[in-house]
Amino acid sequence: MIDVLFFAELQEAVGQEKVSLQIEGITVKDLKTKWLAEYELDNIDDAMVAVNEEYAQEDTVLASGDVIAFIPPVSGG
């Protein structure tokens, strides 16, 4: 199982902070294009991706227990 976290406009689009999925061994790209397609997140490709709180590439393979976060363009400060 992996946890997928959403923030800012993505969180509002999904309607929740976290989605848990019974998958593993797929890439971040697969997660976006296949497993999250149903949410129709237009802006998800603008988001950075963090795996276990570190920025990661789209070809990162996800293991069970990973926490994946989609990080829309940040605007702190």
């Binding site: 800012a8 988001a47 709180e53 590439q57 976060a69 363009p73 605007s75 400060g77």
Partner: protein, 157 residues
């Protein structure tokens, strides 16, 4: 409070941040304080809402502290960022950097705020009289390489 880098839902006391970096080796402390501005390009902000991926944001703030150590040598950094609803003039972020000499303190503090705006997972939602919007304009103003944060931002405060 033990941490030098923290996300909080409460009002930030400037002294709490500065006190973490004052030390006998330092002759200079530079502090950057980000406050909520009422007007941006003529549009009136009523209030802001800040959201953070708090655990990762604290790690990334710590990382900025380490980057400063490496770049400026003898520097001590503390950063606090607030989340939740902030009204006009409320403090969103306080950065404090102490160094033996002032030039480094200015440069490192400036570096810290630029890095926060590049890569620390914190978002602000504008609440205007006529609507709301999550802000995040890197797409227009900065280069992304493979969706990891690089480049320089050009946001406003």
């Amino acid at each position: 409070m033990e941490k030098n880098f923290w996300i909080t839902n409460e009002a930030i006391e400037i002294n709490d941040v500065v006190n973490k970096v004052v030390r006998p080796e330092a002759g200079a402390v530079n502090t950057f304080i980000g406050t909520v501005r009422e007007f941006t390009k003529g549009k009136r902000t009523l209030y802001l809402e800040y959201q953070a991926y708090a655990s990762m944001a604290e790690k990334k703030l710590e990382e900025i502290g380490r980057e400063i150590d490496q770049k400026w040598g003898d520097a001590k950094t503390a950063i606090a960022h607030r989340t939740g609803r902030l009204d006009i003039s409320d403090i969103a972020v306080v950065i404090a950097v102490s160094t033996p000499h002032r030039k480094d303190a200015f440069e490192a503090s400036r570096y810290a705020i630029e890095r926060i705006k590049e890569m620390v997972p914190i978002w602000k939602k504008e609440n205007w009289e006529d609507g709301t919007l999550w802000i995040g304009d890197q797409k227009e103003t900065k280069s992304y390489k493979e969706n990891t944060p690089i480049g320089e931002d050009h946001t406003n405060d």
